[in-house]
């Protein structure tokens, strides 16, 4: 154990900080769930890629820096410290990207990864269906093999970023006689394919952050299947693992929220301390954000040494999503009467962003596998309790 950064790691941090300081937009971008904001965020992805900071863990020949996970954590710390924009292509770079590297053919990697890196292709995801949410194996959308094509029919829902994204990935039933986890295939397709209808769904903040996708005889070449026909569940589980695990929720984000929460508390102490529980919640937010960071460094150290992520990674998703919820609950309590005000309300002052965060935090325990499903996974696969 050595909890100090090497000179090379310190130099890497300094290089990232210098670039971010010079390049992060002065003014916050519009939400990427608006048309203009989406375009602004796409341009930011392109700029990041020009600086080779878009995908630091990707291999050098794919536009990355070949960083290990410790360097990735350092980069993320600098990224969140700098107040840089959220990653509009997170479905692509954090979920599909690693899945492509693991399961994709050389041709598929060359075709999809560089355009993903530049932000030319922004990706949406298509897992859930009206009848397949927590029970994802109940998927019914079909991809029927006809010659060198699949013909897709069905409906997906809660497709994040689908309104303005270019491509979508998801799993479809390619074997019509199959049941449950069998007979599914992981397929990539352009969202402007004939036969696709995207119906935006407004989220709690009124913006269309996700959508329903209707497939009506949509033709997709068979070379767009990833990881082999019938292997869709297996491939999807590895993608979902990235989502629950390290890559999507780096601790830096929660540490910065905790830092801002301590500031908010300190500057509203008189109002806040009328309820002694608030000071305790603020303290706990800071401790838990630190604990999440420590746990991530432990996992990263293990992986760097060739270890594997185990079922204990399901504890991550519960911990960060409930931490995020609790931090924003606390912020709302501190803000009192101002808590309900939208950012544009004149009386909201500069605290309106807490409400945005509060609304988004409500989704954390639901997406990427509800926390109830995560608790089942922990009980059955980590603790070895009997299946239902």
């Amino acid at each position: 154990m050595d909890l100090t950064y090497t000179p090379a790691q310190q130099a890497f941090r300094a290089e990232a900080r210098t670039w971010l300081t010079a390049n992060v937009p002065r003014e916050p971008l519009q939400s990427f769930d608006t048309e203009q904001g989406f375009a602004e965020h796409r341009a930011w992805e392109n700029r990041l890629n020009d600086g080779r900071w878009g995908m630091v863990t990707w291999p050098i020949d794919l536009g990355g820096r070949g960083c290990d996970l410790i360097e990735w954590l350092i980069f993320e710390e600098e990224y969140y410290r700098s107040g840089a924009p959220a990653r509009v292509n997170q479905n692509g770079i954090f979920l599909l990207g690693p899945t492509l590297m693991e399961y994709g053919s050389e041709e598929q990697k060359a075709r999809f990864l560089p355009r993903m890196a530049t932000g030319e292709d922004i990706w949406a995801q298509a897992w859930s269906e009206p009848g397949a949410g927590s029970d994802m194996a109940a998927i019914r959308s079909k991809a029927e093999r006809v010659g060198d094509h699949y013909v897709i029919n069905g409906q997906k829902t809660w497709s994040t970023r689908a309104v303005w994204a270019d491509w979508v990935f998801g799993i479809f039933r390619t074997d019509p006689h199959s049941q449950r986890h069998q007979g599914l295939t992981f397929i990539l397709l352009p969202l402007d394919s004939p036969g696709i209808t995207v119906r935006p769904i407004p989220q709690l903040n009124g913006l269309p952050g996700f959508a329903e996708i209707f497939f009506d005889d949509v033709k997709v070449p068979v070379e767009n299947a990833l990881g082999g026909e019938g292997m869709g569940w297996h491939v999807a589980m590895s993608t979902a693992g990235f989502e629950r695990g390290l890559l999507l929720r780096s601790p830096a984000r929660f540490q910065e929220t905790a830092r801002r929460l301590v500031q908010l508390y300190q500057s509203n102490r008189e109002q806040a301390d009328r309820d002694p529980a608030i000071g305790e919640s603020v303290m706990r937010a800071w401790l838990d954000a630190e604990a999440y960071t420590l746990s991530t460094y432990m996992t990263a150290s293990k992986l760097v040494q060739g270890g594997k992520i185990g079922p204990e990674s399901s504890t991550n998703k519960i911990f960060w999503s409930e931490l995020d919820q609790s931090m924003h609950d606390t912020a709302m309590s501190i803000l009192g009467l101002r808590g309900e005000l939208l950012p544009e309300a004149p009386a909201a002052g500069d605290v309106g962003h807490w409400l945005e965060g509060f609304l988004f935090a409500q989704a954390g325990p639901i997406y990427a596998g509800t926390n109830e499903i995560q608790r089942n996974i922990i009980a059955e696969r980590m603790l070895g309790m009997p299946r239902a």
Binding site: M1, D2, L3, T4, Y5, T6, Q9, R13, I70, I74, E76, E77, Y80, R81, A252, R253, Q255, E256, A258, R259, V262, Y265, Q266, G279, E280, V282, M283, W286, L287, D288, E290, A291, Y292, T293, L294, S295, Y297, M298, S301, K302, V304, Q305, E312, T315, I318, F319, E372, Q374, R375, N376, I378, A379, E380, M382, L383, G384, M385, P386, R387, A388
Partner: protein, 351 residues
């Protein structure tokens, strides 16, 4: 940057765990409850044979010179096993306290540290602010506080009054003694510093045991929910029972980082130890207290009995939650540092 234990450290942990699981069984612990002292010279001799009593003793005194980080996983295993012997107290609190005395006490240090390393002495250490001293009755040397002063007192000079604990494995004593210049080994600023450091090591040792206890309670409950059937199924197949256990597993997972971070800070003599130790004690105590609450529930009425082994570990957790700083004390230290101390916060400030 490498937040992992070495192969040697993990191997040692495995060895100690195997030994404790085989030798310190619930049956043996229950047998010890029936003995006068509640302690076993034979068991202590086995710990000596494993080399455990030499671990933290400096090499100059025939020990292995290991630090808090080397010892932390072993302390965790002592918790997992519910070991009644004062190994953690002697090795993690007492030995470093003796070793830190100044050279005017070289003879005393040499004598007692060598005796501990060779397995001929157990130590009892008074927790600052706690009127009771655990294992005072089997200690060959007691390290006691008189104000800021540290006193090294031999058993002949104390009178002990037993105080029975909810945990039959704990042996607590009120110690009546008279401080003299002959027993005094540190005073004033030095004494304050030694007690503050001893307190942090005590809290760290407790925290490690709490993590082990929490894991043990979950393991017992998981086994039980396989055996016990209702409605024609193992009760562990019901989601309500699964989620009781999963909630504890989450707390255990996220208590590890603070525990090992604190052990590292003590071993490397880094600044900010107080907050790190308090975080470790708080996180592990909360994990263990939730484990106690949820595992007795998973056991149903059986968990409320003397026969089922759960209470061996549950009662230890209830007791250790309050010693070497209860949650109020540790929260107070963290709050003071966070709200009055202007610490560096946010991403990139953890290490």
């Amino acid at each position: 940057m490498d937040f992992s234990f070495s192969r040697d450290q993990l191997l040692f942990q495995d060895n100690v765990r195997s030994f404790l699981i085989n030798e310190v069984t619930p049956e043996r612990i229950r047998e010890l409850w029936l003995s006068d002292s509640g302690r076993s010279d034979q068991l202590w001799a086995q710990l000596v044979e494993l080399g455990l009593t030499a671990l933290t003793v400096p090499e100059a005194h025939d020990g292995m010179g290991m630090n808090e980080l080397d010892f932390i996983l072993l302390a965790q295993e002592c918790g997992y096993a519910g070991l009644p012997e004062p190994l953690v107290e002697t090795m993690l609190i007492g030995v470093p306290l003796l070793a830190a005395l100044d050279e005017s006490h070289a003879v005393l240090k040499q004598h007692w540290l060598t005796r501990v390393a060779e397995g001929h002495a157990r130590l009892a250490i008074a927790e600052p602010g706690n009127p009771l001293v655990s294992d005072a009755h089997v200690a060959d040397l007691l390290l006691l506080a008189h104000g800021d002063e540290v006193h090294a007192v031999e058993p002949g000079a104390v009178r002990l009054t037993r105080n029975v604990s909810v945990d039959p494995s704990r042996q607590l004593f009120q110690v009546d003694w008279t401080p003299t210049s002959a027993t005094c080994v540190a005073t004033g600023e030095q004494g304050r510093r030694l007690w503050a450091a001893a307190f942090n090591r005590g809290a760290l040792g407790c925290a490690a045991q709490m993590l082990g206890l929490a894991k043990r309670m979950v393991d017992l409950a998981v086994d039980y929910t396989f055996e016990r059937k209702q409605f024609g199924k193992p009760v562990g197949s019901f989601q309500a029972v699964k989620h009781l256990m999963a909630n504890v597993a989450v707390q255990i997972e996220f208590a590890k980082g603070p525990l090992y971070r604190a052990a590292y800070a003590l071993a490397e003599q880094q600044p900010g130890q107080e907050v790190l130790v308090s975080h470790a004690k708080l996180a592990t105590s909360e994990a263990a207290m939730l484990a106690a609450k949820n595992t007795i529930q998973a056991h149903g009425a059986m968990g409320y009995t003397w026969e089922v082994d759960l209470h061996l570990f549950m009662k230890r957790a209830w007791a250790l939650d309050k010693v070497w700083g209860d949650r109020g004390h540790h929260k107070g230290r963290i709050r003071a540092a966070l709200f009055d101390g202007n610490p560096a916060l946010g991403a990139g400030k953890t290490f």
